[in-house]
């Protein structure tokens, strides 16, 4: 009976906390912006005025008009529709990469922080090595040797996230594991597995959620940079990075090709950065910058 009660209590606490989070104007703004982005991405097939791959060379490089809100590209494809589908691509890839990074990184970080000693030393050394290579360089190198297929792109995007999650989780675990209630768990003979997953990690959730929010924005940025350089999402799948790169060729006489997808990327980054800031103030007020 008590466990069911705890469960309900947990949800109530969550909603209370969420309500407090939304009491800030800036937090409301970023939250609504992100909901809007997700809505646009989900609804892309129904709200796009044209299929994203509908080619019409006769109508190429047309400026913004009522028919084509953001103009058309060199093949006459509707930029607005492609931007909407691009949101779908970026958000879904970023979510998968961050969730993969989170699961793996939190596990590694928890082991490192909880076990400590030599294991911790070795894991943190390896993390430091991976952190020595800038994310985009690592991603570029990996995709170039493995090939730009979706699973490899996601892998390339998550490797750095794994190390970031591992670091933050380790730090949180180190501070939590010295608390009295953890000692109490040991005293009543609980298994290490149960202590880590049942008692230590749930109390480290704040910094992890903050990091996850910021990293979704980061992964979207890395993915678009990768696509911009031709090593990410490949045609005909629409991606903001690829669209900006294509627009770069027609910059002088058709700047809208690069401007509009870039604006969406920029808005997405603003939304996730603001949300991350708000989350940090809300959940992890003592923590510093996580990235």
């Amino acid at each position: 009976m008590s466990s069911a009660e705890n469960h309900v209590g947990g949800w109530v606490l969550f909603f209370e906390s969420f309500k407090r989070f939304l009491s800030s104007k800036l937090n409301r703004f970023s939250f609504v912006l992100i909901l809007l982005l997700f809505a646009l991405a989900l609804a892309a097939p129904w709200i796009s005025p044209f299929p994203f791959d509908q080619v019409n060379p006769a109508n190429g490089l047309k400026g913004p008009s009522w028919e084509h809100l953001m103009g058309t590209d060199n093949a006459g494809r509707d930029i607005f529709s492609r931007v909407l589908y691009g949101a779908r691509t970026s958000l879904s890839i970023a979510m998968i990469a961050v969730i993969f990074g989170l699961i793996t990184g939190v596990f590694i970080g928890a082991v490192s922080g909880y076990v400590g000693g030599m294991v911790d030393e070795v894991i943190m050394r390896i993390v430091e090595i991976f952190m020595s290579i800038p994310g985009i360089v690592m991603a570029l190198a990996l995709v170039s040797v493995l090939g730009p297929s979706l699973p490899f792109i996601i892998l390339a995007l998550s490797i750095r996230r794994i190390t970031q999650f591992a670091r933050v989780t380790r730090g949180a675990v180190l501070s939590v594991k010295t608390q009295d209630y953890v000692t109490a768990c040991h005293a009543i003979g609980m298994s290490n597995m149960r202590i880590v997953f049942g008692h230590v990690l749930p109390n480290c959730i704040g910094p992890i959620i903050v990091l996850a929010t910021v990293l979704i924005g980061n992964v979207i940025l890395t993915e678009s940079t990768l696509s911009f350089l031709g090593m990410g999402i490949q045609e005909p799948t629409p991606s903001w990075g690829t669209m900006i790169a294509q627009g770069n060729e027609f910059l002088t006489f058709a700047p809208w090709l690069s401007i509009f997808p870039g604006l969406f990327l920029f808005l997405t980054m603003i939304a996730f950065n603001l949300l991350g800031d708000g989350m940090r103030d809300h959940l992890d007020p003592r923590g510093g910058s996580v990235v």
Binding site: R125, I126, E128, I129, F130, M131, S132, I133, P134, G135, I136, V137, M138, L140, A141, L142, S144, V145, L146, G147, G217, L221, S224, T225, F228, L229, G230, M231, G241, I244, G247, N248, L251, T252, P255, S258, I259, G262, L265, F266, M269, I270, N273, L274, D277, S289
Partner: protein, 315 residues
């Protein structure tokens, strides 16, 4: 005492650098298919057009007939001596290509770092001093826009603005072609993000210091506001900001890759991307190695500098 600490830190960076080298080696060997074919710059479709004897010769030349662990130590030994192999596309030594590219990137990063530091610190101070007033909101707005603007897109917007609409700066090309002005737009493109990060860091660090007793004491004894902010508060607030500036290298290098490519600056980033486009594995490997080692070294320098600046962390 300080010397032992410095030596210990120096010693600790060796495994990291070795690790980076190992990572670069592994990256070069992850490629599916025959590394000899890849090293010859051929696609898999071109396989049949290579004479079998030729392939064998390249394999032996690259040491690919030996076990992987032997290959690794041979490669590492050569890399330590500055021999990174030969590019199969341009046939020049990879180490020569890297050393030709290094000055451009270093100049770019140095210019970026210094302009980002100056702008970021200034914005952060304005923000903290005018906390809650118009100056603070404007500075914070610039900062959030700065951290959210994609570097490569900003580079394109800068080109659009300054090279076509107000044509006063060169769009692409190296210093040799256009002189110093070739570096202005690339620097601005990369500097925006770190400047914004530094501004945010500076603001929070300054606000923390401004709430301390010693600031109240300084004000109480009748010092001017200017003196309190610029001398007493700033000196105490700047340390964490210096660390942030120092650790920006990886971010900057990441931004530099795309920006060098957009502006056709012949630096490490362009070399890396060319290596990737041409499937020139050894060039790619060399660029990754140098970037990683440079990062590890810059972290080392920041740590050492920090120990000298702030005696509290010499433990």
């Amino acid at each position: 005492m300080l010397t032992t600490v410095l030596l210990r830190r120096l010693f600790l960076s060796i495994p990291t650098i070795l690790g980076v080298a190992t990572l670069a080696f592994v990256l070069g060997h992850l490629s599916p298919g025959d590394p000899a074919i890849a090293a010859m710059g051929l696609d898999l479709e071109g396989h049949s057009s290579v004479e079998p004897g030729e392939l064998e010769r390249v394999r032996t030349e690259l040491g690919l007939d030996k076990p992987i662990i032997v290959q690794y130590f041979q490669w590492l030994g050569k890399a330590l001596q500055g021999d990174l192999g030969r590019s199969f596309v341009s046939t020049s030594e990879v180490s020569d290509l890297v050393f030709d590219a290094l000055p451009t990137t270093m100049l770019l990063l140095l210019m970026t770092m210094s302009s980002a530091a100056v702008i970021g610190i200034a914005l952060g101070i304005i923000s903290a001093v005018y906390r809650g007033r118009a100056g603070d909101y404007i500075a914070r707005m610039i900062a959030i826009i700065g951290v959210s603007t994609p570097t490569f897109w900003f580079a394109i917007i800068l080109i659009l603005l300054f090279a076509f609409l107000i044509p006063i700066l060169p769009v692409t090309g190296s210093i040799d072609e256009h002189g110093f002005s070739a570096m202005i737009l690339p620097t601005a493109a990369i500097a925006l993000h770190p400047a914004a990060l530094i501004a945010r860091m500076m603001r929070s660090s300054m606000l923390e210091v401004l709430s301390q007793d010693m600031v109240r004491t300084a004000t109480a004894k009748g010092l001017s506001r200017w003196r309190v902010f610029m001398v007493h508060a700033l000196r105490n607030a700047i340390n964490p900001v210096i660390t942030v500036i120092g650790f920006q290298f990886a971010n900057l290098m990441g931004g530099a890759v795309a920006v060098e490519f957009i502006f056709s600056l012949p630096g490490l980033g362009s070399l890396l991307i060319e290596g990737i486009y041409e499937k020139d594995i050894l060039v790619m490997q060399g660029a990754v190695l140098v970037i990683g080692v440079a990062f590890a070294l810059s972290n080392l320098v920041v740590d050492l500098l920090y120990m000298v600046i702030d005696p509290r962390i010499r433990i």
